[in-house]
Amino acid sequence: MTESNNTIGSGKSFKGFVGRLVQNQLFIPIAALLVLVIFNLAADPSFFKITLDQNSAGDPVLSGYLITIVDYASELAILAIGMTLVTAASGGQDISVGATIAIAGSVVLRVLCGTDSRPEKMQAPIIVAFLICVIVSALFGAFNGALVAFFKIQPMVATLILFTAGRSIAAWINNNELPIISDPSFGYYGNFIPGIPLPTPVFIAALCMVVIALVLKFTNLRLYAQAVGINPSSSRLNGINPQMIKFLTFVILGVCVAVAGFIKVSRLSTINYSVVAKDIEMDVILAVALGGNALSGGKFNMTASILGAYVIQFLTTTLLKFKVDSAAISAYKAVVVIILVVLSAPFVRKKIGELRKKITARKVKAAKEGV
């Protein structure tokens, strides 16, 4: 997924290992994850209990908070992939992903339901619905991408259009009705496939990660996106087409939105246009930032972003478990965000590094004097 220098290699000594870890971009998300784990261990170790139950259909399913986390983080992780690329190449963020997820989900339901909003039987194969949803989402991504790349509008302003209009478009696609799919096989993609005890979104997210890892390995997407994000003028003089690369990243994000939207509607077999994936764009952008990626573009670390997505979901689930009022969750998240952002600021990390060095030097001195 990332260059080998980003993976945590086995250190020769523990100290060298820690030193490398602190400098690693993965340090912040991993540290955040550890803090959450320790907090939960101290507060209520049952948080980590995983049990094998049977669901209403009599199939074995795993349940527990950890399962909930990896399950519900799937959409975040998938979107974080696209958002990382958009951030790297355009130096801005797409704030329309929540609204375009509503569109994507609406398209899926429209294709499956046909003209009847409560069909006995699905009107089209699920794969067809999914592919049409991918195409439509990619087109909306292309719309955003065209505004950013060719009309040179700031990403946040450009995507504000669909942020505002997306949920209305989603409602319009289904004539403002709320279609419901009664066929249980549609629910497999957002819940469990009979016989498999892990939620399906986990597998879909894993598949997306494998795909992006392969894309990054077998194409120059990483190099091009980074080069364009850092210095578009120089990239152009080296034969790269910066506009096409920016455009491409938005289309990729569109495809990610399609997958996330498909999972979202499959979870409930229906859609609520105004609520589905609400505010998810903020969580996704937070995941990218938490992964230590500069929101102003340039270099990126995909693993860190994806890890960031899981940390965000871990936090949300922890807060829900402790019965924090859902309206207050944002405030708690904000506190965590402040801490993380301050910790990951280069200035603070440098200070921490200096402090660490001083402590080591003092220890060495003490050891010498002891001799």
Partner: protein, 505 residues
Amino acid sequence: MENGAVLEMRGICKYFPGVRALEDVDFTLREGEIHALMGENGAGKSTLIKVLTGVYPKDGGEINLTGVASNAHIRSPQDAQKLGIATVYQEITLCPNLTVAENMYIGRTKGHLTNWKKINADAEKLLDELGIPALATQQLGSCSIAVQQMVAIARAVDMDCKVLILDEPTSSLDEQEVLKLFNLMRSLKEKGVGIIFVTHFLEQVYEVCDRITVLRDGKLVGEYIIEDLPRVKLVSKMLGKDFDDMADIKSESDADNIDYNDIPVYEAKDLTGTTGIKPFDFEIHKGEVNGFTGLLGSGRSECVRAIFGADKTNGGKVWVNGKQVKINKPLDAMKNGISYLPEDRKLDGIVGDLSVRDNIILALQVMKGFFRPFTRAQAEAFADEYIKLLSIKTASSESPVNSLSGGNQQKVILARWLLANPVYLILDEPTRGIDIGTKVEIQKLVLKLAAEGKSVTFISSEIDEMIRTCSSLIVMRDGKVVGELKGDDLNQNKIMATIAGGEGK
């Protein structure tokens, strides 16, 4: 303290992790003198300036300012400003969308009400006094770079500075603008201001300075009165060795071997750019080194940008090795074996945060294609080969390129284009802002490439350098080619005359 000194730095030390950037350096600036601070890249000039202006805290030594402070503690640029130390940097740090007067007084007005009428009048008076050709109410962005720089100086002067630091102020100015700047410096000198002048241009030092302090490897080499230190000696002091390489560079080149009846490697007819250049014809042969010269803004960079497809062209035909081709974008040129090292290294050359390795392989990788990335081992091999070949000083090929010094960044871009293995290499100001040692290396490299049968277009603001490396020179004025000089015509007088258009008048 020495008589007449406005600034004394004694035994200044500055350490960075693993590096002694400054060790026991003394520097004295006297009232009303222009004092050049010279040294190669990495000699410690910038560090010394940064210690003086409070950007870095010093690790040892003391700074005395006559009548203001002895053993002054300068902890921030604001402290320095209060003590009367003003700095004008190479890059303009003013606001181009404000007026000249606003720029001169921004952040210095007292109270909430500002009397713009008075400020404009004050500014006008000062501009007049210093002979700066700008109006107080004019937008700064509409002035030339030279005038903007002078406004920055005027701002410093008005803040009652005793010490004025000019850090590479001339590198983006043309010769006439440099003269204007020098006049301004001289008039400030008469007012008793001490000026520290940091530059790479030896000629300018000898034109305007009174004294020279030379640094090498973070240590003081010595302080000299300008008359006592001829140019050759200065260079050898800076390099720490005798330097006769410069003189015999040309003898290595073999201009006679070029076959001008051959099919040109690159040929253009009536090529027209959209950036204000008139249609021009141009050809270059195998093994030839030619140059474009002319004042800044004469269109020499625009010409080569048109050749490379960096700017849109509208009209004209182009042949590469006798075959007619269309070059609409840089990739077209690259695929036809043309490479282009741009004039502005920061803006158009390096990709800052990316590693040295990625910067080196970038062009070749793009030519190879989006779906065919080099393996890591291949990329590493390429990078290591060229880091060694051009002796690029970097901690590793993983280091971000913007952590390197200017000269080494330039070498990285050179490496990038050499790796692309071009038949025709365009170098626009490859030696700007880099130290003499690297300059000579680059000039030698150009001649070596030509000897290997490559064609090179070499552009430089320094005519000396062009004469040494080029076998023919195309002279430009106001976007038009006004002459082509070859052989015996390649001398300073003839070139100047052609640039100025003095022929026949």
